[in-house]
Each structure stands twice: as structure tokens, then as C-alpha cells.
């Protein structure tokens, strides 16, 4: 069905390719010989004349991919080529627009834009001329002497664009450039970017955009790559052939958005038209791992989602749900994942449906909800089960956090271990499976009196 608006992309191997990645992967070596694979070996090319959007759930290594392609990060294996020369020896002319803008607060707008030219030894007068012209192009005429902190978020990102474009990069990388902005400002900047690109006002050959906003990708991109996680790998890679300007309300547009949602919400099933280069690759699946990857959602969020679903008859399209809630997919997906992991939800074809326990949960009052959550957590979440068992087994009913961190770090990176532990603590505390003493970094069994007191408080 998708073939009506999206066709497969043949791997380009012409002379025109600007950046070509060959079998790049990223892993972190662990002391115990195990290594944590962040990105599986991947081939990817960036050719002139296209805007590429890279989509994927959090933890799929979108930003890591961008940094490897731009030369900011070295692949653990494989090679990135810049015009067929290894990128670390090439004068790669690239820029990045950052999510946090990454402007220097102590430099004026003009000085910020001039700085990259200064690094390239452009003489002062020429530097000034080029910077002023670029500031004019992005609509910041008259703001040269202002400091970034005096500007609004949108204006600041304009400075970010001016700084990126002033070096006339062949490839412009953008790392979620609009996600720190409010909806209207982001929309405005997006259309201006498209205008610059269409009129060839910006001297850029190709744009590589990392985003978690599906609509943004469909709106801007000529080609969309969707990443999956554990480890990060390309799930699908296709061209978007809708004509610009694109209409969000057109059927072709919404169909494409829906298709991407389906791909994103069904990580266990390969997309209907999996590209040839994907077969035979060893992709580590969540189910092969000892510990599940806990989605970083709060129990309150899960409860909220379930209660919302009950109001809507127990079933809903994820896309509509996200839209109605004005949620970004990155904010909604962990909650859906968590509910699914706990057995409260089923996800099928981009639709979510409540299970029996999910319905019971949503219809119960808070104390009963905690009980249901506790049962579901003990049943479905290995880490929580282990913590609870260990606490019961020990005579003093207390276990240090490190004990579990040591086991987790066989499987996750150091940062991820911390996040997994934080999520487990939040869930366990909510479920009253255990308590956690943050100053001693130890799990403790909640004693009965405290538990009663907590229950009374919770009931109020």
C-alpha cells in the first residue's frame, strides 16, 4: 500500500555521494568482555540534493549516528568516507545545528556567527561581511550586537542556523533543531528553512535531520530513515515523493505518517517491505536479553493513559491519542511501552487496546491500583522481581543498589544502568515492593508501620 507514496531507495554509489558510511557500528567495551552494542553495523549514504530525516525511538542511537556521520564521533568499527576519503583525514565541510542551540552566551550574535570563520582564518573584514549577510538571510538584521540571552528561543535558533550556514557547509546536520521551541515558532522556522532550501539561498548540498517528530520528518524530508533499537539499526529507508509544499491534511500525508507510526510501535515485527540489506544481520532482540529494557515512564503516566483509554472505550489509535494529547511520540511511546510490558495494554497495527488487567487497573481506586501494579510488576519485570526476592531473603531486609547495578552493567551502558535503576526504583516505590534509602543507596523492605502510614496518605 505504501508504494503509492513511498518507494524503496537503491543504495546510491555514484560519484556524487558526499558522505558514505560503510559498516559503521558503535559499542562500548565492558570490563567483563561483554560489550554493549549501541548501533549494529550500518551502511548509509548522503547524496547531494536531498533532505534526509532520521527517525527513531529514544535509545535507538539517532544522535550517535549523526555524530559518527559528521566526524564528531569515531565508529567502533567501519569507516565514514567524505568524498571517498576517510573523514578523519578529510577537510569535511559540515555544520551542526544543535537542539540546545549551543551558542556562546558571552559572545554577541555577530561574534557567535563570526567564530567559525575566525577558526578558518578568514580575514576580519570579509568575516564581518559574510556574517552580516547571513544574519540578514535568517532574518536577524539589527540584532548583531545583542547577546543570545536577550533573544527568544526561536531567535536564538536562528543564530544557530546563521552560524551553521556561514561556513557554507556541504552537509548541514541538524540534531532535533526545533524540539526546544514552542509549536508555532518551530512551524515558522521549518517553513523558512524549506524556503531557503528550495530557493537555493543556502549554499548547502544536503541536509541531515535527526528528529523524533514524525510529522516534521514527513513535512521536510525527501528521504526518511527509521531506526530501531537494541541495538540501533535501520528498519526502513524510503523516499518521500510528495510535492512541496506539503499539506498535513492530505490523505497521502496522513497515510505516510500512519505507516511510520506503525513501524515505530511494532518493534518486534519487521516492516512489511524490509529492505534486502537487512536480512542476515544479527540483531539482538529484547527477548534474548536477560533484563528487559525498562521504558522510562512513571507509574502515574501509565495510570493516566489507562484511565484515558477506558474513557475512550478501551481502544484507540496511537497517532490520534498523541495528537489529542499534544504529545510528541518520544513522550508517549515510553508510557505505551511500559503499559505493554506490564500486560495492561496490547498494541496492534498502530492501535492500543486495554487488556483485562488494564481495564481492572483503570477502574480501581488508588490502593487497589497499587496492588494490581505490584502483581503485574512482580510477574513481568525481572529486575523488580529480583530486588523483591533479595530483600525477602536477606535477614536484615536490605540490599545495596550496587549489587543490582553490577548485574545490569553486563547488559547496559553505564548511563543506561543508572536510568534503568532509577526507573525500577520509581516503579518499586509506587508498587510498595520496596523502599529506597537514597543517602545510603540501599533498598529496604518497607516496614509495616510505614506502609500503613503511606497507605493512609495515599488514600487522602
Amino acid at each position: 500500500m505504501q508504494e503509492t507514496f513511498a518507494t524503496r531507495l537503491e543504495t546510491p554509489a555514484g560519484n556524487g555521494t558526499i558522505i558514505r558510511a560503510e559498516g559503521i557500528e558503535k559499542y562500548y567495551a565492558q570490563p567483563s568482555q561483554n560489550r554493549i552494542q549501541v548501533i549494529a553495523p550500518t551502511d548509509l549514504s548522503i547524496v547531494p540534493g536531498e533532505i534526509v530525516a532520521l527517525l527513531g525511538p529514544s535509545g535507538s542511537g539517532k544522535s550517535t549516528m549523526l555524530r559518527m556521520l559528521s566526524g564528531l564521533s569515531q565508529p567502533s568499527a567501519g569507516q565514514v568516507y567524505w568524498h571517498e576519503r576517510p573523514i578523519q583525514h578529510a577537510a569535511a565541510n559540515v555544520s551542526i545545528v544543535f537542539q540546545s542551540f549551543a551558542l556562546f552566551p558571552w559572545l554577541t550574535v555577530l561574534e557567535n556567527v563570526e567564530a567559525p570563520l575566525q577558526a578558518r582564518g578568514v580575514p576580519a573584514s570579509q568575516r564581518r561581511e559574510r556574517s552580516l549577510k547571513m544574519l540578514d538571510t535568517v532574518g536577524l538584521d539589527g540584532f548583531e550586537a545583542a547577546y543570545p540571552k536577550e533573544l527568544s528561543g526561536g531567535m536564538r535558533q536562528r543564530v544557530g542556523f546563521a552560524r551553521a550556514l556561514v561556513v557554507e557547509p556541504e552537509v548541514l546536520f541538524m540534531d532535533e533543531p526545533f524540539s526546544a521551541l514552542d509549536v508555532l515558532t518551530a512551524e515558522n522556522l521549518r517553513s523558512e528553512l524549506l524556503e531557503l532550501w528550495a530557493k537555493k539561498t543556502m549554499p548547502t548540498q544536503a541536509v541531515f535531520l535527526v528528529t523524533h517528530n514524525i510529522e516534521e520528518a514527513v513535512l521536510l524530508a525527501d528521504r526518511i530513515i527509521v531506526l530501531g533499537r537494541n541495538p540501533g539499526h535501520i528498519r526502513t529507508d524510503f523516499k518521500v515523493q510528495l510535492t512541496q509544499p506539503r499539506d498535513r491534511k492530505s490523505e497521502a500525508f496522513t497515510q505516510l505518517v500512519d505507516y511510520i507510526y506503525k513501524v515505530l510501535t511494532r518493534p518486534d515485527i519487521a516492516p512489511a517491505e524490509a529492505p534486502e540489506q537487512q536480512t542476515g544481520r544479527r540483531v539482538r532482540d529484547q527477548r534474548q536479553m536477560r533484563y528487559q529494557m525498562l521504558p522510562h515512564a512513571r507509574p502515574g503516566g501509565v495510570a493516566g493513559l489507562l484511565e484515558l483509554l477506558v474513557d475512550r472505550g478501551g481502544q484507540e489509535d496511537i497517532y490520534r491519542l498523541a495528537d489529542d494529547l499534544a504529545f510528541e511520540i518520544d513522550d508517549l511511546l515510553p508510557i505505551v511501552d511500559a503499559a505493554q510490558l506490564l500486560g495492561f495494554l496490547k498494541v496492534e497495527e498502530g492501535d492500543v487496546a486495554l487488556t483485562e488487567s488494564g481495564t481492572e487497573f483503570a477502574n480501581s481506586e488508588i490502593l487497589r491500583q497499587k496492588e494490581i501494579f505490584r502483581d503485574a510488576a512482580e510477574k513481568n519485570v525481572l529486575l523488580l522481581r529480583q530486588i523483591a526476592r533479595a530483600l525477602e531473603a536477606k535477614s536484615d531486609h536490605t540490599v545495596p543498589e550496587d549489587f543490582f547495578l553490577d548485574m545490569l552493567d553486563e547488559q547496559f551502558s553505564e548511563d543506561e544502568c543508572q536510568r534503568q535503576m532509577e526507573t525500577a526504583i520509581t516503579w518499586g516505590r509506587y508498587a510498595e515492593l520496596f523502599d529506597f534509602d537514597a543517602s545510603k543507596r540501599r533498598f529496604v523492605l518497607p516496614d509495616l508501620q510505614e506502609e500503613e502510614a503511606a497507605m493512609q496518605e495515599g488514600g487522602e
Binding site: G71, L72, Q88, A92, S95, A115, A119, G121
Partner: protein, 582 residues
């Protein structure tokens, strides 16, 4: 590796290096100590400058000038060292842990114990010349003020946001550009605040080390410190001279505050790493004046600009800067050899230090050691008594000032200046008073330690009380908290992190102060009380290096132990449970 960047003389590093590193570093410290004494004693026979100190008030401006020059040079040295040390530590993961462990130990060692060693060594390097003894005093001041600055710069470098570094990489900044446009601006505010603390610490040591007896000699350097001490030890006591000396000292400190620190703080406001402009700003009339007289500042700026331009052009043409440098680049492969070499060298040095120490200590009797431990206990009690006393009066007063914004605005700068007046300068005056009252040094030394320590606590408590959000205060009022409830649930937890920061600094200061507080020459008599500080001073006086060494090691050990067992834990508690966020 993570270090708290706070306003304090000693900073608490999050410990993640093995214990043997501390031991090795301590042993290397011993080796350096002996190296200095060796050279020093060898050259002791050469002529020694013992400048006569004038009693005349007319000599004061010149003396003040000498002292300022010493402080200034020592400060510049500290700045350069701190930046270089912080830079190397932050960017060389292979040596990082070592370098931070070294800092942590060095900041715990009582600097005044090194006085004889450093002086002898420096005089030996430049024999028969005033320069040697000058260099000695400068080096001593340097060691008193450099550590927290190095810590601060290192911590700043480590906390630069990742995307800022990535921006500097992707736009191919040279090291030069990165230093001036990213690293220095980012570290500026921490560096300036720590400089203020450091220079205050510098005065403390300057006054103590301008005049001191060693063996049967009496060293003097012309300066404010020696002027004050001479006035105090004249018989009868020269009150007139003392008062004048103190007045000049306070004048210098106020002038430094107004002419140097305030403009610097106001100027550094633009380096605040914030997205929104904050409402509270320090104002400086002097800075405004400089800004207005634009022609005055334009000339150096223009000269610098031209020079800078050439450097950028030169760097841009170098070929190795044309590609983007990856963030996770591995270091050069050969440095493992270098590291092994360094480790072997360090081991040999530690071995030598150890055997030397053994030979020196062999002569020490058990009686001496017993005495040392008794002294250590007495000083320990005194330090803690002074801390408790300081906390007892500064907590209510500090909270009162902090809760009253008008009062805080006036009093905060004042306490900052008062905190900068070195306790060592006030000792003679206070001692004269104590003797007249008939009190002994046993109690008196606690008062002397208080002088040096209470201001840091007060200063931090004011800051803490001001940081308690007003909605919490309003909530306490709304629910009609009793006075006790208000203190227990709101005020004490609110100021806790600040209190701990102040106490850590104060505790280190009190141990250092014990060396000058427990043993004092006044007139022709020597006042002395039981204590580790007194033993260090007495050992310095009589040239008993074995006792000096043991006492110093013991003091360093106690400081390190108390830091590890008490302060670091409280610090972590402050960080986790009592942190007011948002």
C-alpha cells in the same frame, strides 16, 4: 571524576581513586620535604638576611608595598599553575585520577609546617641574597592559595556542556580559540570567586611567614606582617604601631575589594552560563567608569585584537586543524610506556622519601610520640570547640541577615571584607588583650581560631538563608508553624548544604590556624599551650625536624581523616537529601 565547585578554601572531591594512590602521593610529598631540608641544611652556613624592622609609621607604606608585591606575584603564579594543572588534569584521562588525588592531599597539608623547609631551600638556591628568602615567602603563599583555584578550574572544564564542546569541534576551533572563547569564559566566574578566597588565604600566610625564628636565627622580611609582629613583641607593646598597621591592612583589603574584585565580579556577569538574564547583579562604579572612558580601554583592546588576528590566521593554515576532531578520540598509543616510566620514577622517589623519613624518625622516643598524640587530641578538641562556637552564633545571625533582603544587601559585602582580614594579623592585638585580662593561651587559642573561621560560616549561611524559596517561607507562615517547627523543617534543612560548605572550609582553616594560635612570641616571652600546632611551631623554632615531620604528618592525617569520615558524608547528604532544586 567530579568536583563540587563551591566557594570554599578546601573543596570536596568525589572519591574514586584507590587508597594506595594516597599513600604513594604522601610518600612522594615526604621525599620533596626531605629534598628541601637536605639542600637547606647544607647551605645554612651562608650569610642570611635578617632585615631590621623599623617601628616608625613612616615605614608603613613601603612595607605595605612589599607585602602587596609578594601577594601579587604569588597570586599570578597560582593562577598560571591552576589553569595549567586543571587543563592537563581535565584533558588527560590517564593522569586525571592521579592529579586530582594529589590536589586533595596537598590541600589538606598544613602549609605552615613547610615554612622552614621552603625557606631554607630557597635561601640555598639564591645564597647570600634577599631574593632567596623572598622567593621562599612567595612560594609559601602560593601553596596556600593555589589548590582551590586549580580545583575550580578543573571542575569548570569538566562541566562544560557537551554540545558546546561539540560546536567547537565541528567548527574546527583551534586550541587557542577554544581556550579563549569557550574554556576561559566558562571557568571565569568560579575562578574569580576562588581567587577572592585564595588571596584572603594568602594574607593569612604572608603575615605568618614574614617573620619567624628557626633554630637560633630569626628571619625577617620587611613587610606588613613583620611590622605587626615587631610592634606586638616590643616591650612595652607598641599599641600605636599595631593599630596603624592594622588600619593599613584593612585599607588594603577594602581597596582590593572595591578596585579589583567588585569590578571583576560585575564584569564576569556576562560569563554566566544562563539562557535568561537574571535580575540580581553586582554593580561596580569603577567598571562603569572604565566602560564610559572608552578611549582608555580601546587602545590595549586594539593592540590585542591585531595580535589575536595574526594568531588565528597562523593557526588556520596548519594542516592538522582542517579535519573535525572526534570527541572520543583515543590518546596516542605510546603513552602507556610513559605512564609506566612515571610510575617507576614515582615509586623510586617514594622509596627514597620513606627511607629518609625512617632514618630521621629513628631518634624519636616513645615519650615524644605520646606527647604528639596528646597534642593532637587537644588541638582536635579545640578545633571542634571553635567550630561549634562559630556555628552557634553565626546560624541565628546569618539566618536573620539572610531573611532580611535589605540587611543582606548591606551586610553581605561587609562580611566578605571582614572575612578577608587575615586572622594572623589580629592575633597580636587579641593576645595583648588576653594577657591583660589574664587568660591563658589554652582558652585563648580557641578564640584565635574562631577569628579565622567564623566568617566563612557566616558568609555561607547568609547565602543559604537567601536561597530558601519564598513560597516555602510563606507555606510555613500559612500553616502557623511554631518557631521550633520552622527551624526544624524549613530553616536548618534549607541552609544545611551551605552550612557544610562553610564548615569544611572553616575546619581546614582552624587546623592551619592552630600552628600560629597555640604558640606565640610576644615581647620577650613565649606563650605556649598543649597542642599539635604548638608542637609544630616549637619544632620549627628549635630546628627539631623529626618532631616537625611527625607532627605535620599527624596533622595532615587528621585533616584527611576528618574530611573523609565526617565532611564528605555530610556533603553527600547535603547533595542528595537537602538540595533545593528548581
Amino acid at each position: 571524576m567530579r568536583v563540587q565547585n563551591t566557594f570554599g578554601r578546601s573543596l570536596v572531591a568525589v572519591r574514586n581513586w584507590p587508597f594506595f594512590m594516597d599513600l604513594m602521593i604522601a610518600a612522594c610529598g615526604l621525599a620533596i620535604f626531605f629534598g628541601m631540608i637536605r639542600i637547606g641544611t647544607y647551605w645554612l652556613s651562608s650569610p642570611m638576611p635578617e632585615a631590621p624592622i623599623s617601628h616608625s609609621i613612616r615605614a608603613l607604606p613601603l612595607y605595605a608595598f612589599y607585602s602587596i608585591v609578594r601577594i601579587g606575584i604569588a597570586y599570578l603564579l597560582s593562577l598560571v599553575f591552576a589553569v595549567a594543572y586543571g587543563y592537563i588534569a581535565a584533558y588527560n584521562p590517564r593522569v586525571e585520577a592521579w592529579m586530582i588525588a594529589v590536589l586533595d592531599i596537598l590541600q589538606s597539608i598544613p602549609v605552615l609546617s613547610f615554612l622552614p623547609g621552603v625557606m631554607l631551600a630557597m635561601m640555598a638556591l639564591v645564597p647570600g641574597h634577599q631574593l632567596g628568602i623572598e622567593m621562599g615567602s612567595i612560594l609559601l603563599i602560593f601553596t596556600g592559595q593555589v589548590w582551590n583555584m586549580a580545583f575550580s578550574f578543573y571542575a569548570s572544564l569538566k562541566s562544560i556542556p557537551r554540545e558546546m564542546i561539540e560546536a567547537s569541534r565541528i567548527y574546527r576551533y583551534s586550541g587557542w580559540q577554544r581556550f579563549w572563547q569557550l574554556e576561559m569564559p566558562f571557568a571565569a566566574i568560579g575562578l574569580i570567586w576562588n581567587s577572592i578566597v585564595s588571596v584572603a588565604g594568602g594574607w593569612f600566610f604572608l603575615i605568618a611567614c614574614e617573620m619567624f625564628p628557626l633554630g637560633n636565627r630569626f628571619f625577617r622580611l620587611p613587610g606588613l606582617g613583620s611590622y605587626l609582629q615587631t610592634a606586638a613583641s616590643a616591650s612595652p607593646v607598641d599599641m600605636h604601631g599595631l593599630m596603624w598597621g592594622l588600619a593599613v591592612l584593612v585599607l588594603i583589603i577594602v581597596a582590593t575589594d572595591q578596585l579589583l574584585w567588585r569590578p571583576l565580579i560585575a564584569w564576569s556577569d556576562k560569563f554566566k552560563f544562563e539562557q535568561v538574564e537574571s535580575s540580581t547583579r553586582v554593580s561596580s562604579p569603577l567598571l562603569a567608569l572604565i566602560h564610559r572612558s572608552s578611549r582608555l580601554v580601546q587602545l590595549p583592546a586594539r593592540i590585542w585584537g591585531t595580535l589575536d588576528e595574526h594568531i588565528y590566521q597562523m593557526l588556520a593554515t596548519r594542516s592538522r586543524d582542517i579535519s573535525v576532531k572526534p570527541m572520543d578520540e583515543n590518546g596516542p598509543g605510546g603513552s602507556r610506556m610513559l605512564q609506566a616510566g612515571l610510575a617507576i620514577f614515582g615509586g623510586l622517589v617514594a622509596l627514597w622519601g620513606g627511607t629518609e623519613a625512617y632514618h630521621l624518625i629513628r631518634g624519636v622516643t616513645w615519650l615524644d610520640i605520646r606527647l604528639l598524640f596528646l597534642g593532637a587530641g587537644a588541638t582536635f578538641l579545640r578545633v571542634n570547640a571553635s567550630l561549634a562556637l562559630a556555628a552557634a552564633w553565626t546560624i541565628p545571625v546569618g539566618v536573620m541577615i539572610g531573611f532580611n533582603p535589605k540587611m543582606a544587601k548591606i551586610l553581605q559585602p561587609v562580611t566578605q571584607v571582614v572575612a578577608s582580614v587575615p586572622a594572623t594579623a589580629l592575633f597580636p592585638v587579641l593576645l595583648v588583650g588576653l594577657i591583660r585580662l589574664g587568660g591563658g593561651l589554652g582558652i585563648g587559642s580557641i578564640a584565635l581560631m574562631l577569628l579565622g573561621t567564623q566568617w566563612y560560616i557566616l558568609f555561607n549561611i547568609i547565602a543559604g538563608a537567601m536561597a530558601i524559596p519564598s513560597d516555602l517561607k510563606e507555606a510555613a507562615q500559612l500553616y502557623r508553624f511554631t518557631r521550633w517547627q520552622r527551624w526544624k523543617t524549613l530553616i536548618l534543612p534549607g541552609i544545611f548544604p551551605y552550612l557544610i560548605t562553610g564548615m569544611v572550609t572553616a575546619s581546614g582553616g582552624a587546623w592551619n590556624a592552630s600552628i600560629v594560635a597555640e604558640y606565640f612570641h610576644i615581647g620577650h616571652q613565649t606563650l605556649e599551650t598543649m597542642g599539635l600546632g604548638a608542637q609544630i611551631s616549637a619544632a620549627t623554632d628549635s630546628g627539631r625536624f623529626s618532631t616537625l615531620l611527625l607532627a605535620t604528618v599527624l596533622m595532615a592525617l587528621m585533616v584527611v581523616t576528618v574530611n573523609r569520615l565526617v565532611w564528605r558524608r555530610l556533603y553527600r547528604l547535603a547533595e542528595t537529601r537537602y538540595k533545593l532544586e528548581g
